[in-house]
């Protein structure tokens, strides 16, 4: 039996009673997982709340649409901007439409918008989410805490526009565990990609390529912020060693990736052209697009890196070589902002209030006369112009028409070349026929025929053309008084417009 006096002297671990809770160390992992779990809650919530929407929306898998939305936003996160609101809605529509093909398109759009707006959480002032979870503190006291997070955030773009960006929480939890070293992860992904392509496993290759692109985006984003810091204060960064090293490293990286990705591009192009079966071909074509996008991002990155040096010198001139002033000023950032931010808000608010009270200057109070007040109250409110000011009529000056051929000539040439698809003709015959109507016309016909020797297949595919003019050289010499060269066979090819359209919508 221990007397009460003993307990005071006893070592803490011997004091009676079970510990109230596992220590904070064990709790930390739990709270991390709780927070990760919380990030998925808004997605489940969508499926729960769809029942409350006016209308029958249970056929739609909202969480799936939401994940797709986050994927799309992540993919469109660019160097300067994020994804455009409308663009994301448009990209979501095929998936939404596929879930309920018989419903009207307006409803599909409504669903896509609803999901996107809920991911931003438009209704709340923070435009974010809050989850409450509990932890045990170091003193063993159970504390409920608020965890605030966002999935998609809105960021300002050029000219006051608003773009969407996926937050770190969204990328880490919902896109995939990306909190690994950027450079090595990128190398790993690309090595994997090359192996996959060489083995012809394109489905896996596409996944790997997309992952590589996520990393590329992340890398670019980081560099953008570093360059911005350089812009702000020359002394903020070590321009003797660290930054030049970093820029050199980044340039090396860009050059390396560029070489690497061009090699991949060549490989996939080969794979695309040699692939059998439309599915393989389509996948390879998509891969080409992804890798092209990566190359574009690297080029963008490189141009930013090249700007850094001149920028430093200009800023150095401004900041470092100015004559020093005798007075020393207050360091607003170092002495006010930086010490203020870590304080609890109820203390920090006293400092900001003091700054506000003394830093806003003065306002002359308005005094109102009764006579004016009556007038003001009786004046009807001004209609707000929603169309804005009237545009001045632009002063247009007609540019002189210096085209070699007239519109009529083009029309008759096109008419002449509008051949039946099963009856190709020789260029010589076409030239002779053209010459009969107009001595200038053969030049235009010859030009169009030469162009048709390399027909714009890609453009025709994208625009969904039904017919395409082509020209083939079979070795016959052209016998003509004005032109020399090969007597081309000019014909009209029919294209499978419906099939192409289906392909396009699948690919996008």
């Amino acid at each position: 039996m221990t007397s009460p006096a003993y307990t005071d002297n006893a070592a803490p671990q011997l004091s009676a009673g079970p510990r109230p809770a596992p220590g904070p160390a064990a709790d930390e992992g739990l709270s991390r997982r709780l927070r990760a779990l919380a990030c998925t809650a808004p997605l489940h919530d969508l499926d729960v709340r769809k029942a409350n929407l006016a209308g029958e929306y249970t056929v739609y898998a909202m969480a799936e649409v939401a994940l797709a939305a986050i994927d799309q936003v992540t993919l469109h996160m660019d160097f300067d901007t994020g994804a455009d609101h409308e663009q994301i809605v448009a990209k979501l529509l095929p998936r939404v439409a596929a879930q309920a093909p018989r419903r009207p398109a307006a409803e599909h759009e409504r669903v896509a918008r609803w999901v996107l707006e809920n991911l931003i959480n438009v209704g709340s002032v923070d435009r974010g989410f809050r989850a409450v979870y509990g932890t045990f503190g170091t003193d063993g006291v159970y504390v409920r805490r608020d965890y605030d997070f966002k999935l998609i955030e809105e960021v300002p773009g050029y000219g006051g526009s608003v773009y969407l960006r996926a937050t770190d929480e969204a990328v880490n939890v919902l896109v995939g565990a990306l909190d690994t070293d950027v450079t090595s992860a990128q190398i790993a992904a690309e090595v994997k990609l090359e192996v996959l392509i060489s083995r012809g496993r394109l489905a896996d290759a596409q996944l790997a390529a997309e992952q590589a692109r996520y990393r590329t985006v992340q890398y670019a984003e980081t560099l953008r912020k570093t360059l911005e810091a350089t812009r702000r204060n020359v002394r903020a960064v070590d321009w003797l060693n660290a930054v030049p090293d970093m820029i050199a490293e980044a340039l090396d990286h860009v050059a390396d990736r560029y070489r690497h990705e061009n090699a991949i591009l060549t490989n996939i192009r080969k794979a695309r052209d040699e692939a059998e079966g439309p599915e393989h071909k389509r996948r390879a074509a998509e891969l080409v697009d992804i890798v092209k996008d990566c190359i574009r991002r690297h080029t963008q990155l490189q141009s930013r890196l090249l700007e850094a040096g001149p920028l430093f010198r200009a800023e150095q001139d401004r900041q470092a070589f100015a004559t020093p002033t005798a007075r020393t000023g207050l360091d607003l950032y170092g002495q006010l902002v930086a010490p203020l931010l870590p304080l609890p808000v109820e203390q920090a608010i006293r400092v900001t209030d003091a700054f506000f009270a003394h830093g806003t200057g003065l306002r002359t109070p308005t005094s109102v006369r009764v006579g004016d007040l009556v007038d003001m109250l009786l004046t009807p409110p001004l209609e707000r112009e929603h169309l804005g000011a009237e545009m001045p009529e632009p002063d247009l000056i007609a540019t002189p028409d210096d085209s070699r051929f007239s519109e009529e000539q083009l029309a008759s040439a096109m008419n002449l070349l509008d051949l039946e698809h099963d009856a190709p003709r020789r260029l010589s015959g076409l030239l002779a026929e053209a010459r009969r109507s107009d001595p200038d016309l053969p030049y235009l016909v010859a030009l169009l025929a030469v162009h048709a020797a390399s027909p714009p297949v890609g453009t025709a595919y994208r625009q969904g053309e039904r017919r395409l003019l082509f020209a083939v050289d079979d070795g016959t010499r052209l016998d003509d008084p004005e032109f020399g060269g090969a007597d081309l066979i000019v014909g009209m090819a029919l294209l499978d417009a419906a099939g192409m359209a289906a392909d396009r919508s699948e690919a996008s």
Binding site: L336, V351, G359
Partner: protein
């Protein structure tokens, strides 16, 4: 205090400066002889009050108004007139910051003056919501910190700061992000306790508010941080502290001489005093605090850790 400042400006040519120093001396002698203060006529009082009235129109440039410039010259040259104008300003509850051709009659509202700006009038939500109140105050502080990033800039009379709304938002956001990372490195749990929101760290309030938001009429979302910063710069522009120079990055502005005086002589010191009262003593030796990291630890390109802050 005001005419002492004014002597630094070199706008007044040598002959007048000599005249200005000669004149009070003779008057002083005269005062000794007659043992009576120089007479002030009601017309002088009217002119002094007129000068203060010009000072109450902060967007008015002395260079653009001949009468204003003439009154400034009188203030500069006639000490009794200067004292009179100072007295008028003080009586109205104003503080004279500087009287010069570049800043004009730079006056600002004293505490509890009718001219003072109150937070409740400034933003309606701010009076009820302490988070909003803090964000509005922080926005003004951040505008000043970005306008004068180095101590030298604040001290140098010739310096003109250039800021953009989005730039300020990004700056504060990154500073907050650094703190978030530092807290994570320490393994601190910064999520506030549900029943004590006042203990939430200040940076979290800013970090959690969204930067911008789409609105139905394509205006800036008032509650977003760019909306709050935008409100601050618009207000400062109305106070004659900033001038709009362009529309890029949410609106570009440059500072005026008045703003520098206001921040240097009024707001900065007041906020510092409050901070010291809280027991936070930021020690610096006057050099910039945005310094390179000690061992380049921060140039590691971890995701989102762009700005190497060292406070």
């Amino acid at each position: 205090m005001s005419d002492h400042r004014a002597e630094h400006t070199d706008a007044w040519s040598e002959p007048t400066a000599g005249y200005a120093t000669a004149r009070p001396a003779t008057e002083g002698d005269a005062a000794h002889e007659t043992a009576a203060p120089p007479a002030v006529t009601p017309a002088d009082a009217a002119d002094a009050a007129r000068l203060v009235a010009f000072g109450l129109q902060p967007k008015l440039m002395p260079a653009r108004d001949a009468e204003y410039a003439e009154l400034l010259r009188r203030y500069r040259e006639e000490t009794p007139f200067a004292r009179l104008a100072d007295a008028v300003a003080t009586g109205l509850g104003l503080v004279v910051l500087e009287v010069s051709t570049r800043a004009g009659m730079a006056v600002t509202a004293g505490e509890d003056s009718v001219f003072a700006v109150r937070m409740g009038d400034y933003a309606r939500r701010a009076s009820s919501d302490s988070a909003d109140r803090f964000l509005h105050g922080l926005a003004h502080l951040a505008v000043a910190a970005m306008a004068f990033p180095r101590p030298e800039d604040l001290a140098d009379d010739a310096y003109i700061g250039r800021i953009t709304v989005n730039g300020i938002d990004a700056f504060v956001r990154q500073a907050c992000h650094r703190l978030e990372e530092r807290a994570a490195e320490h393994g601190d749990n910064t999520d506030p306790a549900t029943d004590a929101p006042g203990l939430e760290a200040a940076w979290r309030i800013y970090a959690r508010r969204s930067a911008t938001g789409a609105t139905k009429d394509a205006r800036r979302l008032a509650g977003s941080t760019t909306g709050i910063v935008g409100k601050a710069v618009a207000f400062l522009t109305d106070s004659g502290f900033l001038q709009r120079t362009g529309d890029d990055a949410g609106g570009a502005f440059r500072t005026t001489a008045r703003y520098q005086l206001q921040v240097r002589d009024m707001a900065g010191t007041a906020a510092m005093a409050e901070l010291l009262e809280l027991g936070v003593v930021p020690v610096t030796d006057g050099t910039a605090t945005l310094l390179p990291p000690p061992d380049g630890d921060d140039l590691e390109l971890a995701a989102d850790a762009g700005l190497p802050f060292h406070a």
